[in-house]
Subunit: 214 residues, 2 copies
Amino acid sequence: MTRPKSKKIENGKPVRDAEATQAVILTAAEEEFAQHGFTAARTEAIAAKTGVAKSMIYYYFKDKEGLYWAVLKRSHADLVQTLQKLELEHLSPDIALENFLRALLDCVSRNPKLPTIMFHEAVQNQGKYYKHSDSVSIDAALIAILEKGVSEGVFRQLDPFQSAINIMGTCLFYFIGAGNIQQFPQGKRLLSKAMLEQHTQEAIALILAGVRQS
Amino acid sequence: MTRPKSKKIENGKPVRDAEATQAVILTAAEEEFAQHGFTAARTEAIAAKTGVAKSMIYYYFKDKEGLYWAVLKRSHADLVQTLQKLELEHLSPDIALENFLRALLDCVSRNPKLPTIMFHEAVQNQGKYYKHSDSVSIDAALIAILEKGVSEGVFRQLDPFQSAINIMGTCLFYFIGAGNIQQFPQGKRLLSKAMLEQHTQEAIALILAGVRQS
DNA sequence: TTGTCAACTGACTATTCAGTCGGTAAGGAG
DNA sequence: CTCCTTACCGACTGAATAGTCAGTTGACAA
């Protein structure tokens, strides 16, 4: 858990620590890529956030694209792993859906930059980097739950494919707008713990009520 | 309705038409900004799409930012106008909500690039350009409907602010992912007329079921 | 026909940015 | 202490990109 936020200073003196430096760069890059996407992200801005020289990016990650890959990989790992180990097959569809949503929302609440990174990737690069198994399987899992729910009559007649997209939107859109909609509620920050928990509840409630057979 | 798609050619000969040229540039810019956002958009790429010289951008729009403004303004005008002239106050909340959603979805179905443009603007520039009245009022209208519905007992106990964001997400996420999720259904393009109509239905059904008092 | 103005062009410039390279020094091994 | 490896630095370079400008061409009026 030795993960310094910006520079790598330990008890007053700067230390030469390859791992720590890489982690610092990755974190700074995550922020920059989340806000600007690959093309508009500036390697100099990333370096400035870290406190190490810009050339360290190229030393550890070869080039801008290598750094981008590394960020995508690290960001995604948590999400994919969490959702894959859920074991939802034996559960009734409504419970499975709730578990799935709670895991998803927990994950992105922990790393709120992830949705923004994914959307930049999707829009700018048409998701080239994700065509290697990842996010596809996430959607597939959700679609499977919905299909089962419809066929068992637990859910109303809905199109699983369309609904999966819309459900993901309900969960994730919040995080995209978060940077934008700071002025809205009375001083409440959208990414505060309380608001994130409320969003989790509200999103789950909306979705479960929305799909259930009435 | 004289809006040529790329060059400005009329019965075989290129014409000098200021208005048409501006329109051509705006359309090309809309595409470029939608895919890449302000910073990553290339003025040369925009010019290449139009067939006119790059310098025309500066001739008519002063600079890249001026062009960006013009695109945001034109894209938004339709949406804001449509939603403002809805007159929903006298309707019951559930009908008002359905009308609101149908108008919103019609609008973005007509201009599917709009959500992506808004997304880029929100994330990259924290919505600086929208802090001039526009999208704020859209959310406000939706929140008002939800508040009324809750207080009248037509809708279940939900947080109007949170739910407004989530509802917008349900409607708009589809368009953001559209570029990405082309491989998914069996050859169906997400932006085909049939799929857009289905999305409108599915989104409205999900939301109405989701908010209604059960 | 001629003059004028506005639409339009393409080559040019200044700047910004990704990526490089020669060199420095920390710190462990012998 | 002396090497030697490697983390690290900052000035540099070449390519790309926003923005400019001097000049050309087409339309229309007089």
